[in-house]
Each structure stands twice: as structure tokens, then as C-alpha cells.
């Protein structure tokens, strides 16, 4: 099932376009405006798009019907889908997380912090999974992207003082949203 989900993600051109642009923008921003992993604050938007696309693409052209007739047990299917997404995202997140610090190393000689890279990778992967869960709930790509980016880029800076650290918020909200998404997905009409 995971292989089926992985082959679905891999054969979607949008997956590669999104990842390609995300990396390109991250590298460009590193050169232009900042050093280290600061550009990730912007390029994380690409991972949001990736996560939302992964689940919302089911609802384009009625693919969801094929998916659920081939894999009718919904919760295992959803778990497989998120596992496949995580497997694809992890290396991509690592590349993006590494690109900034590596460029900084080459240009300014600042050493790469392994812990920092690991944290960024984990952050981006979790963010993708949260986005996928939101995609399942909303079933509409634009709405999902709009909502998440609105939260991340518009609302977050202003509610920051009321929230714990970004990473903590994400670690808490990922399982919660995944469970809510799974429960909704199991109950509703496809």
C-alpha cells in the first residue's frame, strides 16, 4: 500500500515542480538576503504546498474513487499515504535544510551545525504532514494552501507571544491534526 502511495506521489509532476522550486528559491534567498537556514522561513511555504497537494490531488478528476475502491480500508490507506509522503519529504527536507548552511560554509566559512540541520529537516517534514492532514480535511488545494500560509505568515507573527516555540507547536499539532483528519476521513462520504 505504501508503495502504491509512493508511486502515486512520484508520478505526479506537481510533486517535482514544487520541490524543485522550493529548493531553487531557498538557494536564491540564501545568496541574496541571508545566510544559514534563515531562508527556510520563506521556503517552508513550498513544503506546505507539497503536503496539501499530496492529499488534495485525490479530489482532482475523481481519483479518490479509484483509491478507495482499490484500498477500501480508509485509515490504513491514509496512514500509508502519510508514510509515503514522509518518506519522500524527509530526503527533500534534508537537501533544503542543508543547502543554506552549505552555501554559507562555502561563502563565509561558517561551520554547518548538524543539530540545526536535523531540526530544520524535522520541522519541514512535520510541516508537510500537517499540511497533508489539513488537505484531507478541506479537500480543496487552494483553500488548504491559503489557510496554512495565512496561519504561518500572517497570523503567526502576531500570536507568537501566546504560543510556545514553533517546533513545540508543530510537534503537538501534527498528531492531533492527523487523528482528526483520520477520524473525519473514515466517517464521511468519499
Amino acid at each position: 500500500m505504501i508503495r502504491a502511495e509512493l508511486s502515486k506521489l512520484v508520478s505526479l509532476p506537481a510533486t517535482w515542480t514544487t520541490l524543485g522550486w522550493t529548493l531553487a528559491v531557498n538557494v536564491l534567498l540564501t545568496f541574496v538576503i541571508a545566510v544559514g537556514d534563515a531562508p527556510v522561513a520563506y521556503s517552508r511555504a513550498g513544503f506546505v504546498v507539497l503536503g496539501v497537494l499530496a492529499t488534495c490531488s485525490e479530489y482532482t478528476g475523481g481519483q479518490i474513487r479509484t483509491t478507495l475502491t482499490a484500498m477500501p480500508r480508509r485509515v490504513p490507506q491514509l496512514v500509508a499515504q502519510h508514510t509515503a509522503l514522509a518518506a519522500l519529504t524527509l530526503p527533500a527536507a534534508l537537501v533544503v535544510a542543508l543547502s543554506g548552511p552549505l552555501i554559507t560554509l562555502a561563502v563565509a566559512g561558517t561551520p554547518v551545525s548538524a543539530w540545526g540541520v536535523a531540526e530544520t529537516t524535522a520541522y519541514l517534514t512535520l510541516l508537510t504532514l500537517v499540511s497533508a492532514a489539513v488537505g484531507v480535511l478541506l479537500r480543496h488545494t487552494l483553500a488548504g494552501v491559503g489557510l496554512l500560509l495565512g496561519c504561518l505568515f500572517v497570523a503567526a507573527p502576531f500570536v507568537h507571544e501566546y504560543l510556545p516555540d514553533d517546533m513545540v507547536t508543530l510537534v503537538v499539532s501534527t498528531p492531533v491534526l492527523l487523528i482528526v483528519a483520520a477520524l473525519t476521513y473514515r466517517r464521511r462520504d468519499a
Binding site: 541574496v32 520563506y42 478528476g61 494552501v145 491559503g146 505568515f153 500572517v154 497570523a155 507573527p157
Partner: protein
């Protein structure tokens, strides 16, 4: 004129447009409420500069809804086919659509300004009100034009929303080159925000002219491409 009323009817029946309306009113007031206690000269106006999310969504979905292939049938029927059969002149169609977006964005900007200013309890300055309305409408049209060019909403929505962040990408770019001050959003906010943390001074009038040029330019390109390309 009939084309414009048709476009207005389309917008009015699109749930995402109502969502955009809600966002346009809630986002700047919400920011103003959370951002309490910094009573600078730009109190309220600053929030309206960040709160453009609603009109971005409006501009994007007005176009992307035309290109959305509605699931069920394999032929992938898109509303655009129907639209262009009803209004065959491409330019007239696009102009009617843009005008409909303006007709929604303008009252929305007025309402959002009124609500936000009521929340922060600042007396409204008419000149700056005009600036806000202009900036919001232009932002909607920018989103509109970019979506026409790309035929899909995700990229313009992502790029424009990311750039409404408090520290926007265009603002960071001004640290690299002063030319970045002439990006539409950087120049446009000068119409109503007095203090912008860069060295380049742009008067409200110049800001208006620069942003107008961007909007006119992008709309012209979008129009030219839209007329030539297969629907």
C-alpha cells in the same frame, strides 16, 4: 455592462469569495487587536498593509475558478469554456472580470479600514483612506493578473501570501538593492504608511504612480497573453 453584471454574479456565488470578504474584514482587525499597545503614527494603517490577504484571495479565485476542472467528467470541463462562449471577446471578458474584482475590492477596503480604525480608535485621515483603498484594489488586481498568466491559483496565492509576512521578501530585498523599494507592495504602502524602515524615501504620490505602473503593466501582459492563447 451585461458582462460585468455576469462576472459580479459569478463572484457573488463563489463560496471562496465570501471567505475572502470575511478574511478582508477579520485579518486586519485581528492583527490590530493582537498588536495592541504600539501607538505610532501608523497605528491601524500598518495593520491594513499586512491585512491584504482577503483581496489576494479574491483576485486569485476570481480567475482560478475559471480554470478549475470540476472533477466528475473525464472531459475536464472548465467554466472558462462556458464563459468565453457567452462573452466571446477575450478582452471584454477579462476587462469585465477585472472590473467586477475592483467593484468588490473597493467597498471591501472601505469597510475593512472603517472596522480596523474603529478597533484601534484612531481618527481616519481621508488621504490615507484613499491610499488604503487604492493599495487593496491594486493588490487584488496584481493577484488577478498573475493568476491569468499562470492559469492556476497555487503559485500566485503562495507567493503573495508569503510576501504579506511582517518581514516580507521584498523588504528583505531592499537590504540588497535599493531598487527593491520599487516593488509594487513596497512602493504601494507608501500611499498610507509613513514610516518604512528603508533609506529610500518615496512620497505617497510616487508610490501611487509606481504601483499603478506595475498593475497596468501586468494587466497588459496578462491581457495580451490571454487573447493569444488557447482557452
Amino acid at each position: 455592462m451585461r458582462a460585468v453584471t455576469a462576472e459580479l454574479a459569478k463572484l457573488a456565488t463563489l463560496p471562496s469569495v465570501w471567505l475572502a470578504t470575511l478574511l478582508a474584514l477579520v485579518v486586519p482587525t485581528g492583527i490590530a487587536l493582537l498588536n495592541r499597545g504600539v501607538p505610532g503614527p501608523d497605528r491601524g494603517y500598518q495593520e491594513l498593509a499586512f491585512g491584504v490577504m482577503g483581496v489576494i484571495v479574491l483576485g486569485v479565485v476570481a480567475v482560478s475558478s475559471e480554470y478549475l476542472a470540476e472533477g466528475a467528467d473525464a472531459g475536464g470541463g472548465r467554466q472558462l469554456t462556458t464563459s468565453l462562449t457567452a462573452v466571446p471577446s477575450r478582452l471584454r471578458f477579462l476587462a469585465a472580470k477585472a472590473l467586477a474584482v475592483v467593484l468588490v475590492a473597493v467597498p471591501l477596503a472601505f469597510a475593512a479600514t472603517a472596522v480596523t480604525m474603529a478597533v484601534v480608535q484612531v481618527r481616519l485621515d481621508l488621504g490615507r483612506l484613499a491610499g488604503v483603498v487604492c493599495y487593496w484594489t491594486y493588490t487584488a488586481l496584481l493577484a488577478f493578473a498573475i493568476t491569468v498568466l499562470l492559469r492556476h491559483g497555487i503559485v500566485p496565492l503562495t507567493v503573495l501570501l508569503v510576501n504579506t509576512s511582517v518581514v516580507s521578501v521584498t523588504y528583505l530585498l531592499t537590504k540588497v538593492t535599493p531598487l527593491a523599494n520599487y516593488f509594487p507592495d513596497m512602493a504601494g504602502v507608501r500611499m498610507f504608511v509613513g514610516k518604512v524602515a528603508t533609506d529610500v524615501v518615496i512620497t505617497p504620490l510616487v508610490g501611487l504612480l509606481v504601483m499603478s505602473a506595475w498593475v497596468a503593466g501586468l494587466l497588459a501582459v496578462a491581457g495580451a497573453v490571454f487573447v493569444r492563447r488557447d482557452a
